[in-house]
Each structure stands twice: as C-alpha cells, then as structure tokens.
Symmetry: D2
Subunit: 155 residues, 4 copies
C-alpha cells in the first residue's frame, strides 16, 4: 500500500515557508509517497507544486463546495464542502503529518493528528504547545529542514 503523507500549513505564508513546503513535496514524491494537502494557497499550493514537479501524486482535500480556487497542481481534488471539518479528514488519511509554519488552522491539524495518535507528527517551524507546567507538551517532533521533516515522517 502506498504511503500517504499529509502536509499542512497556512494558506498565506512567507517565501521561506513556501520554499520549504515545495521542497517537502519534491522529497515526498521522490520517495514515492502520495501527498495529501488542503488544496489551497500558501504552503498547500507550494507542496502541491513541489510534488507535481517531481512526478508525484498530490490530492487536495478542499473545504469548499466546488473546485474553484483549488491549486492547479493537484492530481485530484476531493470537494468536501465541509469547511475546516475537512482538517480531520486530511489527518485521518495520512500515515504521517508534516506541518510547515504556524496558523490556527495548521494547529488544528497538528492537534487532531496528535489526538489520533500512532503516526509521526512533524513540525517544520511554526508554533509550540506549552502545558500547564510550562514545558512543551510532548509528541510533536520539531525539525529544522525539509530533509529532516521527510526523514522523520517516513522513517
């Protein structure tokens, strides 16, 4: 069974995050993984472009009611019409989750992935979650480069 990796991140992002997401997409495609993303702009369109450029398959799980506005680099678009509830579908479809950058939507996907459990959840940049005691809540693997992110996701 083909490995499926979700790549999550803000719909508007810095050039640095876009470049990192694109590289993550290229690396995942090169490893033969199917990329699952939200289908939108920013990190989502960058990872889709990277995966497509490397000959990979990339599926967008889109929140809207029609395909209008979805990234042109998607191999296929699942039109959920569910808004942000689709974040749970992205996470459930994945054998590993990589987040690039930080936003509330992205954090919801990281949290849903940790809630699900049993799969690697890897963060390249982005926000941190601090528990009542003041330290990082354990579980998310924070990495510094696209190469480390893909290695942590695919083992």
């Amino acid at each position: 069974m083909t490995v499926q990796v979700a790549v999550c991140g803000p719909g508007e992002c810095s050039d640095e995050d876009a470049a990192a997401a694109r590289r993550v997409g290229e690396l995942l495609a090169a490893r033969g993984a199917v990329v699952i993303c939200g289908g939108g702009g920013g990190v989502m369109t960058a990872v889709a472009a990277g995966a497509r450029a490397a000959g990979g398959l990339v599926i967008g799980v889109w929140p809207g009611d029609s395909r209008e506005g979805a990234s042109p680099d998607l191999s296929a678009t699942i039109v959920t019409g569910m808004g942000e509830a689709r974040n749970a579908v992205i996470v459930r479809s994945a054998d590993a989750v990589i987040s690039v950058g930080g936003s509330w939507g992205t954090l919801s996907e990281v949290a849903l992935a940790m809630r699900r459990g049993g799969i690697p959840v890897v963060a390249l940049g982005g926000w941190r979650v601090v528990g009542a005691g003041g330290g990082d809540v354990p579980g998310v693997r924070h990495v510094a480069t696209p190469e480390e992110a893909v290695a942590a996701a695919l083992g």
Copy 2:
C-alpha cells in the same frame, strides 16, 4: 482542469454489474477522467480495477477510520471516518455521476447528485424513482451500456 467522474454502486454486486463497472472504469480512464469512488467492494472495486488497468487515476473516498479494507487498486484513499456521510463528498467532487446497479447507499448518492443539480447523473441498471403521479421523477438518465453511460457523463 481534469474531469472527475464519480462511479457509485453496491458493495456487493452481480457479475454482470461488476463487469459493467470495470468497463466504465476503463472507458473513463481512456478518456483521461479521474475516477472517484467509495473505495469498497463490488461495483467500487470493479471500477477501480478497470480504471487502474487502463492507466487511469482512481481515488477512493472511504467511510472507515483507516485504510484497512479499501480496494487495492486505488491510486489514493481519502479516509473520511464519516461513514455514509462520505457519499455527499463523493458526489460533490464529481463533474458527473454514474451509478451501476441498485442499493440504498447507491440511491442516496443518486439523490444527493440530483439534489446538487447541474451535473449529468447517469444510471446503468439499478432502481427507479417514481413520483406521486406514478411516472418516473425526471432527471436521471437511464442507459443500457457502459459506453452509453460514459458518453452521457462526459458529453
């Protein structure tokens, strides 16, 4: 933008329906359409096998919580974890819907496609819907062969 066609049908079906579904998958793939299906057995696995054999892309929109049990011929599996609510997602993702054979789940997809409106809804075999006056409720195009189904779906 690539055309996406949903193919719906019972998870357990006759040999005749399976052969028809497989042929529909082959024809859609030959026309360059992405096939969207429910990812399960019967008509779903037959259309996936047909599309895959013809070199096409086929995405399963799976009701369960994990990929276990999904058809091995899927190019990618979206694990919705939503049960039959995923029928609405299948229908929304499609530029046309073809049903092969009849069941309550299949009928829900036909009805959701007609409710959505604006796309061809094609039935190869299966059930009929009769209005208060006694005649067929208009809208669904009933056809007799896979070739007619694909022609009605893709125009």
Copy 3:
C-alpha cells in the same frame, strides 16, 4: 434515554404537506420524543413549529455555516457547515425516520436511513422506489396520515 425521531421533507412544500408535518411534530412532542430536523423551510419549519407548540424539544441540524436562515422554532441549532452531508447526521441521530413529501434531498435521507437499517423508516406521501423487477423495493412503510406515521415510528 429519550427517543429521537428525525422528520425529513422538502424545504418548499405544499400546504397539505406543511399541515401534515406540523401535526407530526405535535404528536411526537406529545409522546415525549425529541424531534430532529434539517432546520430549514417547508416541512422542516412546519414540524419544528408543531413540536414547539406542543412543548417539545426540536433540534435543527443545519447545512449552512451560520444560524442565519434557520427556523425560529428550533430549541437548538447544530451548525454543521457540511451542506447535504448533514443528511447522514440527521438519520444517524434518529431512532426512527419519518419523511413527509418528496424531493431529492428527502429521498437521500430515506435512502441513508434504509442503508443504515434497524430503525423504522416511514413515508407520508412522497416518492416510491422501484426495483429492477418493477415492484416497490421493500423496507419503507408508506402511511396515509400523521397519526399512522407517528404510530409506525414509535411503535
């Protein structure tokens, strides 16, 4: 545990269907059942008004992103933001399903209820489903009055 009964029907309906739906709502409330409906117009708003007038609880499972447009007679509104995928949620929440009148959306709910199985599915008016052999597909109980519908639903 309180009994929950879903009442489904078109968002635009005849005066006759509206009166029947209102009566169904009154009867269900009088029996102590919680009414679940789609929260919109037509049959949905009529059943909500009937249930509320009889002092019952009625929950709308609304397809939109906000409560704007939902029936004012709802005790509470669940804002699914899922469009017609919410039909599956309505059906799953019910110990019995009553449809009043016919439409494609209503038929999707009847079909999803039959697909689920194990609960009474009762039709007051509306469409019929005919199998390949020409006869009604068995399962849905067709009744002629609100009183019969509620009796069939609650036993």
Copy 4:
C-alpha cells in the same frame, strides 16, 4: 435567538477540572444559554450535568455511530458518526467557546474556534500556544474561574 455556548475539554479530567466544568454548565444555564458539548466523559459529562441540574438545555455532538456511551445528562444527542471531525461542528454551532483543561482534542477545538474567528474563545486552565517569537499567540482569553469564563463568553 438563544445564545449557544460550546464547552470543550478532555474526556478524562482532574476533579478540579470536572468541578469547574460543572460550574460553567450551571452558570450558562442560569444565563439562559444552550450548552453544546462533545457528549462524552470528563469535562463533557460534568458540564452536561451542571447545565441539566440548573434546568438548562445541553446538546451533545457525539463522535460515534450510535448514542451508546454518550452522557445521560444530554437533552439531545446528535450522532455525527464523524469522529473528531465533529469538533468543527461543535465550534461552528457556538456563539462563544469555553475550554476547560488541556488535551489534544481540546486544543483542536480551540484552534478551530480561533480559525473561525469572530467569537470569544475562553480558556480556563489548559495549554498555551506559543508563536515563533516566544510569546503567546494572541486571541485566546485565559481566565482563572468559571465565573470569569462565563462572563468572558457572554459579555
């Protein structure tokens, strides 16, 4: 239109969090707000018990396929069958969100509420979200008592 407030929190929680959640439920009911919760254990069952004891209405938006296991204090249970995707439905149904305690599921609800925007998001205890610069990401109102939480939610 009745105000609806979502109360989120872990399915297993400390006695302190349970007492706080119960008090939040009582206060919301006393203010005439409908309580929306996940329908499960821990914080969810405590807020349901508090709202019910104060004569309020409390709706559970349940992740499972049947009502089995849902809190007995719910006025009605919406059986989504969607797993954690139901977190988005809880948040969307609310005019304000209060979280009590911390967990990944709870954090997903806080994040989805902030992603949605435009409503008060109030945290009583629980985790904090820290941005790239090292400070709290702004938006969530952290409070110390049930009274402050309800005041912040209802204004």
